[in-house]
């Protein structure tokens, strides 16, 4: 049972990344691969600041700013230099590897015996339950902020930018600036997942971000399948389903491990699982048409 609780907690840690991917992929229609780098960046910045005994109110804004800077860089390369978004993301992600290694100073930094977000705040006595409540509150606050943002005039303009660029330009929106802002926001969220995971697992590792984009992507695709299934248009429900997607994704992986699949094969199982969810709706469409 603990196994599934851990999966649930991990799912909550990854919900920020899922929201980030939801913003870049679904709202802006930009496949953003900066994720692998900005996630590690979030973890690395957290670890280094924690070992330097910085207070929590410094660490959180620092992580958000670092992630936003990485995303903004991808956005600037994409919009101002007119480089394909996928390539722009890969370039920044590659460069971030060196940045992360420089910040971290070595390939792995343990955070044992250091106060973390999960130990400085105590809601209940049981440490696992305490972690759950802190994560839940954290995720609810982020979701609320993003949901509110998407409802504002700025948020509607954001949604229109990925949907009909000619229309939103003729309505007075600088789409380049909007995309840069959007990618900054998406990667700030991604970095927040790095922040949570580094503290949750008790270390930051230079390779913690490898293939992490698939976690966000998988969560968003699960959510999208459900959204299409129930023909939802509400922004709030979509966000809740993205969170659910992140948790379901981790639970499926936990289940795979618990039935005895070799952990070495975890990435191939992940890729296969995402492939299945992507192709399921298409397969059922083929049959009906």
């Amino acid at each position: 049972m603990d196994f599934y609780l851990t999966a649930l907690l991990q799912g909550l840690c990854f919900s920020a990344i899922a929201l980030g991917i939801y913003i870049s992929m679904k709202i802006f229609n930009i496949p953003d691969i900066t994720t692998d780098g900005s996630y590690t960046l979030g973890g690395v910045v957290t670890a280094v600041l924690l070992t330097n005994h910085q207070p929590a109110y410094v660490i959180l804004p620092a992580v958000i700013l670092a992630g936003a800077a990485a995303g903004a860089l991808t956005g600037i390369i994409h919009t101002k230099l007119k480089i394909n978004a996928l390539l722009a993301g890969i370039l920044v992600m590659t460069a971030l590897y060196s940045v992360n290694l420089t910040i971290l100073g070595r390939s792995n930094l343990p955070l044992i015996n250091l106060p973390s977000l999960f130990t400085i705040v105590s809601v209940v006595n049981d440490p696992n339950q305490n972690t759950f409540w802190i994560l839940a509150i954290f995720v609810i606050v982020i979701t609320f902020l993003i949901g509110y943002l998407l409802k504002t005039d700025f948020g509607i303009a954001m949604r229109a930018t990925g949907n009909s660029e000619s229309m939103i330009r003729s309505l007075g929106v600088n789409t380049d600036r909007m995309k840069i802002t959007g990618l900054a926001l998406a990667n700030a969220l991604t970095a927040l997942s790095g922040y949570l995971v580094a503290q949750f697992q008790g270390f930051a590792d230079i390779s913690m971000g490898i293939g992490i984009v698939i976690v966000g992507l998988g969560s968003v695709i699960i959510a999208e399948t459900l959204i299409n299934w129930f023909k939802l248009t509400s922004v709030w429900l979509s966000l809740v389903l993205v969170l659910a997607g992140a948790v379901i994704f981790q639970l499926v992986l936990a289940f795979t491990l618990s039935v005895g699949v070799d952990p070495k094969l975890l990435k191939i199982v992940t890729a296969g699982f995402v492939l299945v969810i992507v192709s399921l709706p298409r397969l059922s469409l083929l049959r009906s048409s």
């Binding site: 949604r159 949907n163 330009r169 309505l171 007075g172």
Partner: protein, 249 residues
């Protein structure tokens, strides 16, 4: 209202596929004028419209709107004066956003898109009343995504959206080209009413010579990036539909 002075625009300069889209056009569009532009394909009509809108910037020459030099101003800044209806109904609206959200964006075209929630009950009511005026029965559907509507409905709504915020210039790029005759008629009549009611300066590109004949206070014909015919006022009014066909003979 719009002054275009000796504007040139060449695409793919120096390459085999070089196109001289606009070859030194000087044109003064008066305030309140409803200008119809006709011309065969490749005559430079759409480039002219894009030059006015700012989606394309001229190689040389100047463009000014309402006394402001806008030659190097990007399109999203010119939206202070200009509203557009595109040829493709999909370009003028955001399909995944609700009708209401589309109208919200249109209603703050000239303003900052800030961090406050602008879609409230009062705004919803205002949009419902405006949409009801079209007589398409869309007032009960304003929470639906724009993409669920037909092309004609979307073009009519785009027109209505253009006057949600202060608007001086309305650019219509073959707004009815993708529509069936009846929807096209509704869209054209809506456009004509709005142009009169709001005293807009309008530029209307069309291949439909019947529309070119029925609407507008001035008509120009373009050919190879130049103006080859220009009739306004009584000359336009006394023009016969057959004369227009002769222009293309």
């Amino acid at each position: 209202m719009i002054t275009i002075t000796d504007v040139h625009k060449t695409f793919n300069k120096g390459k085999a596929n070089q196109v001289n889209a606009v070859n030194g056009i000087t044109l003064e569009i008066q305030s309140g004028e409803f200008l119809v532009i006709v011309g065969s394909n490749g005559s430079g009509k759409t480039t002219m419209l894009n030059l006015i809108a700012g989606s394309v910037s001229p190689d040389n020459g100047t463009i000014s709107i309402d006394g402001n030099d806008v030659t190097n101003m990007p399109d999203y800044k010119r939206s202070r004066w200009i509203a557009r209806v595109f040829q493709n109904p999909l370009s003028g609206t955001a399909p995944d956003l609700s009708i209401l959200d589309n109208f919200r964006l249109a209603s703050i075209r000239t303003k900052r898109k800030g961090l406050s929630v602008g879609v409230n009950d009062a705004f919803k009511k205002q949009v419902q009343e405006k949409v009801a005026g079209l007589g398409m029965g869309l007032q009960d559907k304003i929470d639906q995504p724009m993409g669920t509507l037909s092309g004609g409905q979307r073009q009519a709504l785009t027109l209505l959206m253009s006057v949600m915020d202060s608007c001086k210039v309305l650019l219509l790029d073959e707004p009815t080209a993708a529509l069936d005759p009846r929807s096209a008629d509704v869209v054209m009549r809506t456009a004509d009413t709005l142009i009169r009611d709001f005293n807009l300066t309008a530029v209307f590109i069309t291949h439909n010579l019947k529309d070119a004949f029925n609407y507008g206070t001035r008509i120009i014909q373009m050919g190879e990036g130049l103006i080859i015919n220009d009739l306004s006022g009584t000359a336009k009014a006394s023009l016969k539909q057959n004369d227009l066909f002769d222009w293309f003979a």
